[in-house]
């Protein structure tokens, strides 16, 4: 394994350094926010529910991200995509950036080490801008917004809900009418039976949980509702793939 320069011991050491950095940083902010939460009088139960619910929520998406490492691994080895998808990266960016660097070096696959270095530079430099902008702009943007909050609370509530609904709308419409940039030969990456099933079943499961909780009124049901609805919806998709593969392949936008 370590004989390939793309997956050398040093590469693994770099990846572990990044993993350690992210975990230490997350614990730092977690502890700071937890302490402040207690000072503000938020109950321990609520704080702990937030941790459990968010951890469970992240399992399925994290597995999805891990699988995308495999898509990049054939060209880049395992370690560079792993590092890139642990920080800032998103699959759409990393794939395009790697392809752009290969094209710039005028090769189609990484057979020499210099091209690998070039790919690493392009993938890194192309994604750094938000980390430079956030320290410069975040405070200013958030101060402007909180200024507006103190002026008109109801309007801000409506607008922040609307902003997030806009994001939800973009994702849902991509599952309904599809994003046409995908390649035809890949099953289930466009919009079709599977994408609509995923949307509809997750909505049904979530509504069911909220109806159940109207009766029992337990905080832990709220905390579990979303992660469990997601997993159940994914299981329905897997079941369709297993038992009705010809239906699973129906897509109206590749």
């Amino acid at each position: 394994m370590f004989t390939d320069f793309k997956s050398s011991g040093t590469m693994f050491a770099l990846a572990l350094m990044v993993v350690a950095f992210i975990i230490v940083q997350s614990f730092f902010f977690l502890k700071k926010a937890y302490t402040r939460g207690k000072e503000l009088g938020i109950t321990t139960e609520k704080l702990k529910n937030t941790i459990t619910s968010s951890a469970l929520f992240s399992v399925a998406p994290a597995l999805g991200i891990a699988v995308t490492v495999l898509a990049l691994a054939t060209t880049l080895g395992y370690v560079l995509p792993w590092i890139r998808l642990t920080v800032i990266g998103s699959i759409s960016y990393e794939t395009v950036a790697a392809e752009a660097a290969l094209k710039a070096a005028d090769v189609t696959s990484i057979d020499n080490e210099l091209v690998f270095s070039a790919v690493a530079w392009v993938m890194t430099l192309g994604s750094l801008l938000p980390i430079i902008l956030v320290p410069l702009l975040a405070k200013k943007i958030q101060k402007t917004v909180s200024g507006a909050v103190s002026k008109n609370n109801k309007w801000v509530d409506v607008i922040s809900a609307a902003a997030f609904i806009g994001i939800i709308a973009a994702f849902l419409s991509s599952g309904i009418t599809g994003v046409g940039s995908s390649k035809e030969e890949i099953v289930a990456d466009g919009s079709g039976v599977l994408s609509v099933t995923a949307i509809v079943t997750s909505i049904i499961f979530m509504l069911t949980f909220s109806l159940i909780n109207k009766k029992y009124k337990k905080n832990w049901i709220d905390a579990l509702a979303l992660p469990v609805s997601m997993v159940l919806a994914i299981l329905v998709v897997v079941a369709i793939c297993l038992f009705a593969p010809e239906i699973a392949q129906i897509e109206w936008r590749y």
């Binding site: 950095f21 938020i42 094209k103 690998f116 530079w121 509530d157």
Partner: protein, 218 residues
């Protein structure tokens, strides 16, 4: 007074962590180049030119997501990435469950705790999976099998389907327009970059909601 202290100290620490993050991230290509040689600057520049759209969407992301995320969560999210499909939904779901106002300090605290927990779990799962892929080919074969791979493609849709259920029930009046608008946009411009679609969705949704608010419909 205390509120100012907490928020200011979050901004101070967040900026510090961003600087450390920049150093850590830039170390990676530097170490790779030290081991394997320095590539031509022209190759890097020409590669970067092709991906110029991404830094632009990066600017849009900072403007769109940082007001929704609040201080602590913003710094963490932009360093760890996967904001739209994982961190932001996770944070807003936590705020809903905790029953706090998203735009208050309590909301900031809950969102920061949610995103920190999510980052830890995500980082560990990706690490464990990649090590398993690298050392056990059977595992990568299973994860990319015909039954599981299509399901992983749908994970984001299940996140947003479930969130839509709780958001649309509460705010159905302002939800119809953005969904219809985004679907129409995609029907006519199928190859649209997804980052641009998200931005368009947010802007249209805000404009729609603002109009309805002014007309006293919400």
């Amino acid at each position: 007074m205390k509120k100012k202290n907490y928020t200011d100290s979050v901004h101070f620490n967040g900026r510090l962590w961003c600087v450390i993050a920049l150093l850590v991230f830039i170390t990676i290509p530097i170490v790779i180049s030290l081991m394997h040689g320095w590539p031509e600057i022209s190759t890097i520049l020409s590669g970067l030119l092709t991906v110029i759209i991404f830094p632009i969407t990066g600017v849009i992301e900072v403007v769109t997501y940082s007001p929704l995320l609040g201080p602590g969560a913003t710094y963490l999210s932009f360093i760890t990435g996967n904001i739209a499909n994982l961190k932001l939904p996770c944070a807003l779901n936590a705020v809903e469950n905790a029953g706090v106002n998203s735009n208050s300090e309590e909301g900031d605290v809950i969102k920061t705790i949610a995103i920190a927990s999510s980052s830890i779990v995500t980082t560990i799962i990706i690490a464990v999976c990649v090590l398993a892929f690298a050392f056990n080919p059977a595992f990568s074969k299973m994860m990319t099998s015909e039954e599981l791979k299509p399901a992983f493609e749908q994970v984001s849709l299940t996140v947003f389907g479930a969130l839509a259920a709780s958001y649309f029930v509460k705010h159905w009046k302002i939800s119809i327009f953005p969904i219809a608008a985004c679907s129409l946009i995609l029907a006519f411009v199928p190859g649209l970059d997804f980052g641009v679609l998200i931005f368009a969705g947010v802007i249209l949704s805000i404009l729609g909601a603002h109009t309805m608010y002014k007309l006293k419909l919400v």
